[in-house]
């Protein structure tokens, strides 16, 4: 069997002492930067790159990959404990993970996140090993009409994502769309809503908005409470209950599948995977109102999805030579310097390198589980830190994190402004999460709509003639009907009761 022989070759490369050591180093560094908000894997990998020039290419790649998926593990920790996403892909984990922490289930949430990530990491590794070439081909089926349809589906999902009033969710999503318009238009090169501020010419950064809306806004909300509840009392049992396991397991499986599929798409990212998984879990849940109040599925699904997505995004790079996102572009640049440029013939030309890196991913995920489970007890102690110390520390870390993205003081100011906006949104009872999704999807949707029409020379039927695009649009329409119908039904029921 080819696969077994390939995996055997891979493991023989991955378990040499040097490679094991650097796999561990990568996983540790990844966990650390994942926990620190704003300091992402992109900055870390670019800083460590010169060090790796002297390594064997396979060792270097094993370490760099470890940093990337390690960061997905670490990012959930602060999201759950202090409502601050360590990585953008952990934004949705704050919604239910932090609520669980407030109810004394922080340990359970962390354990579910770690176990879900491990499961997703293992499956995604196997997934890459078995299905890389056909999956990469699937990615190529996606052209502008398909991307437009996918974004339309995602946008409808954004409204589903919100708990609470649907009109508010739509309003917040539209605000996100408008914020996404800021910057230089790809098609015409014209600047929109930039007010001659050069920092706005490429739009506002996702991290800037996410940290402002979630991290800073949460601190503002907490500050106005005269007496802060000490979390000490709520630390509770560290391990998930049987009931929590029962709910979390299927969500983790669904999240893994979804994450693997989205990760393969060029332009798909771990963050998008996590968002989609959350929307899916909420849609299929028997009582969706539990979401946003500490539903364990809302942690298990997205956490599995972001890890699977992170690993699957290696597929287009390693099999087609196309980087799915900025981080993969950096990895590809590194590989070029090592003299092993990725291309469609990469697997055939460098089998030891390809299978070695793939096998190391499973080993790395196992290491991460072993590192993270015992740490849960320690992390939970963070909740005992009084707010007067915790809040300034978080604020400082956010500022450092945002500044480190582009070395721009202006972006720190933007982040603080979004903190105030997030505070106002919470005061008005609006969920900030759909804003972020609108912000991410809106520009992509517009860009692909216009590109599809440019390529079809203005023929709008192109969206329905192409089967994948038509199916995705039909899905969006169905979802929209499903969202609107229950609220209709409820109004009708209320009307009947009044009679």
């Amino acid at each position: 069997m080819d696969l077994l022989a390939n995996l055997a070759l891979g493991f023989s490369v991955a378990v040499t002492p040097t490679n094991l050591l650097f796999c561990l180093v990568g996983a540790l560094v990844g966990t650390l930067i994942g926990v620190l908000p704003g300091i992402g894997p992109l900055a870390t990998i670019s800083m460590l790159l010169p060090l790796t020039y002297h390594f064997e290419p396979v060792t270097a790649l094993i370490m760099l990959a470890g940093i990337y998926y390690g960061a997905q593990y670490g990012g959930s920790t602060t999201a759950i404990l202090v409502n601050l996403p360590g990585e953008t892909s952990s934004v949705v984990t704050t919604l239910d993970g932090h609520q669980m922490a407030r109810q004394g289930r922080a340990g359970a949430a962390l354990a579910v996140a770690a176990l879900g990530s491990f499961f997703a990491g293992s499956v995604a590794t196997l997934f890459i090993a078995v299905a890389s070439p056909p999956l990469a081909q699937l990615g190529l089926q996606f052209q502008a009409p398909e991307y437009f349809a996918l974004m339309a589906l995602g946008l409808v999902g954004a409204i589903v994502l919100a708990s609470g009033a649907i009109d508010k969710a739509i309003g917040v999503t539209v605000l996100g769309l408008l914020l996404g318009m800021i910057g230089t238009d790809v098609n015409s090169g014209t600047e929109r809503f930039t007010f001659r501020v050069p920092e706005l010419s490429d739009g506002i950064g996702f991290v800037v908005i996410a940290m402002g809306l979630f991290g800073v806004a949460d601190i503002l909300v907490n500050l106005e409470k005269a007496e802060l509840p000490r979390m000490t009392a709520f630390v509770g049992r560290l391990w998930p209950s049987r009931e929590e396991f029962r709910r979390a397991a299927p969500a983790a499986v669904r999240g893994t599948l979804l994450g693997s599929l989205i990760g393969v798409l060029p332009g798909g990212s771990a963050a998008l995977a996590a968002f989609s998984s959350y929307a899916l879990e909420k849609k299929i849940a028997r009582n969706p109102e539990r979401f946003g109040r500490g539903a364990v599925e809302g942690v298990a699904g997205p956490e599995s999805a972001n890890n699977a997505g992170a690993q699957a995004s290696f597929i287009p790079m390693l099999t087609l030579g196309i980087p799915a996102n900025a981080l993969m572009a950096l990895m590809m640049g590194a590989m070029q310097i090592y003299g092993v440029a990725p291309s469609p013939r990469f697997i055939a030309e460098q089998p030891a390198l390809f299978w070695g890196v793939i096998s190391s991913m499973w080993i790395g995920n196992l290491m991460l589980l072993v590192i993270n489970l015992p740490l849960i007890g320690l992390w939970v102690q963070m909740l005992r830190v009084p707010y007067r110390l915790l809040h300034p520390t978080i604020l400082l870390l956010c500022c450092i994190g945002v500044y480190s993205l582009n070395s721009s003081a202006m972006e720190v100011v933007f982040m603080l402004a979004f903190g105030v906006l997030g505070y106002l949104l919470l005061k008005f009872g609006c969920e900030p999460a759909p804003l972020l999704l609108g912000f991410v999807l809106g520009p992509l949707m517009e860009e692909n709509l216009r590109r599809a029409l440019l390529v079809s020379r203005g023929d709008p039927w192109v969206f329905l003639h192409r089967p994948i695009s038509a199916a995705l649009l039909a899905g969006a329409a169905l979802l929209l009907v499903a969202v609107i119908l229950p609220s209709f039904r409820r109004t009708r029921e209320q009307a009947f009761q009044e009679e």
């Binding site: 992109l42 670019s46 230089t184 469609p344 582009n406």
Partner: protein, 327 residues
């Protein structure tokens, strides 16, 4: 002489004295930063990191690469234009940031010539004219491509990594010179543009050599021509566009280069220039650079200034003809 003017002159004299003192100490005081104007992982970033290591060793000082990306590289350029001219802040600029942008943008908050000291020209970065053989199996040469484009005007798309990117301008320049009607489809950076080429959404592209060397070796893309005037070492079988498409004199390349803020002491500029040229001539470094399809360009600061001035004029004309404009 007005009082303000006198103060300015005194300040300038003081600044010169101060920088004179630091020129002797340079570069012992603190790490040197090379600012890049494009995102991490972009060609400038990859090249700056490749250069930083041997250059740091030669100078006995750590070199940090710091990307301040945005506005077509202008944010990074502006930062360096305003930085202290003490040799500790350098810029990896390109023909894009320091020649094309001068005409592409209606106004820039700095002057690409007056606000910078040219330090060293680094490499020539060719664009490769590519098609996907799976999508256009019959097009084996530039002549085939021109024939196909003339047969069905307005049918073929050419991808670029963005409005005003060198690949866009090369495409517009090509279409105009060859008198063919091909449609420009811009993407947000290299990855989506390459994906469009793979999936057949776009059929033609002028793409910088760095990210596609592996693809060309694997045969995913068929190179029809290279935008340099002569062949390059890494792609010996690819003829220049001028030859392949029968467009005599046609070329369209960009360069990467090192700039310092205006007023950086000339001893520092000289020293940097010498060390950079030594590295560019080092056989090991030369091999790495050529493997990426780049052409090393060791030269003096004066020669580099001439190249920059010449290219500003050249690109002004091309930008005007392409109709590209950014507010």
């Amino acid at each position: 002489m007005t009082p303000t003017r006198r103060i300015l002159l005194t300040a300038a004299a003081l600044a010169m004295a101060a920088s004179g003192a630091s020129a002797q100490e340079w570069p012992k005081e603190r790490p040197i930063q090379i600012i890049g104007g494009f995102p991490t992982g972009a060609g400038t970033d990859i090249f700056a990191r490749l250069l930083a290591e041997p250059l740091g060793k030669a100078l006995g000082q750590t070199i940090v690469v710091d990307n301040r990306s945005g506005a077509g590289g202008n944010i990074g350029s502006e930062f360096v234009a305003r930085a202290r001219p003490d040799g500790y802040t350098l810029l990896i600029g390109t023909a894009g940031t320091h020649a094309i942008n001068a005409s592409l943008y209606k106004s820039l908050p700095f002057d690409v010539v007056k606000d910078f000291e040219p330090v060293a020209l680094l490499v020539d970065v060719p664009n490769v004219l590519i098609v996907n053989p799976k999508v256009l199996p019959d097009i084996k040469s530039c002549a085939d491509l021109l024939a196909a484009a003339r047969k069905e005007p307005g049918k073929l798309n050419y991808a670029s990594t963005g409005n005003g990117a060198s690949g866009h301008l090369a495409g517009a320049q090509f279409a105009q010179a060859a008198n063919v009607d091909i449609v420009h489809v811009p993407y947000r950076g290299t990855p989506p543009a390459m994906n469009a080429m793979m999936s057949g959404e776009a059929q033609i592209m002028f793409q910088q050599s760095i990210p596609i060397m592996g693809q060309l070796k694997a045969g995913t893309f068929r190179p029809l021509g290279i935008t340099t005037a002569a062949r390059v070492a890494a792609l010996p079988d690819v003829p220049p566009v001028a030859e392949a498409c029968s467009l005599p004199g046609w070329e369209s390349t960009t360069w990467y280069a090192l700039f310092a803020p205006k007023g950086t002491p000339s001893e520092i500029v000289r020293r940097l220039n010498e060390e950079v040229n030594k590295i560019l001539r080092d056989p090991e470094f030369d091999r790495k650079v050529k493997d990426m399809g780049l052409v090393p360009l060791p030269s003096s600061p004066e020669e580099f200034r001439q190249v920059q001035l010449r290219d500003i004029d050249k690109w002004r004309d091309r930008v005007r003809k392409s109709g590209a404009q950014v507010d």
